[in-house]
Symmetry: C2
């Protein structure tokens, strides 16, 4: 069974990934480090919407942001991707001390 604070972190990441435009952004940013205006040219959204999405992706550590002069450069955070793989493995594997082993009270089965 996963700890509650681990749930919070992974849910935040999955929430970030559950938006088509953000998946697209992650896909593009995985190629190489790009500035916001370059990403914007690949997509059909307004500048403010892109800025909002980048904030979400950064806040859950999926993307790393780096400021240089007036530009913001974005790149994928491989460490967080590895964490997703790991936590997904933990969540979807068998547990010996699972809460499902508690005594069933209301279930007449």
């Amino acid at each position: 069974m996963v700890k509650n604070n681990d749930y919070d972190k992974v849910v935040e990441i999955f929430k970030a990934l559950s938006e088509p435009m953000r998946i697209k952004i992650l896909d593009v940013v995985s190629c190489r480090e790009l500035c916001a205006c370059e990403i914007l040219e690949c997509l059909s959204i307004s500048q403010s919407t892109l800025s909002h999405h980048m904030k979400v992706l950064i806040s859950c550590d999926l993307v790393i942001g780096r400021k240089e002069a007036t530009w913001m450069y974005y790149s994928i955070n491989k460490e967080t991707i590895a964490n997703i793989h790991n936590i997904l493995d933990i969540i979807t594997s068998k547990k010996s001390n699972c809460v499902c082993n508690v005594q069933r009270k209301n279930c007449k089965k």
Copy 2:
């Protein structure tokens, strides 16, 4: 670059995973096949809410549902979990033919 219909499928899965209660359900169901009333005892939600979440998890193939008499048995679908790992690898890896390589028009950088 990932195809658009692949995006749709993976976004649907991530949307299912972006809800704390559904992650918890997936965690519990990964232990062994359980009926709805057993899952219900592990959680603090109403029966109708659980039914709704199971429908979401089944519709994106994260969970397999099996009816036996009046009971519904749920188990994790390992195949979909493997697909998540694969598509995540594709999304977060370098691409030679990325859309980010197109000529930049408006960016003055």
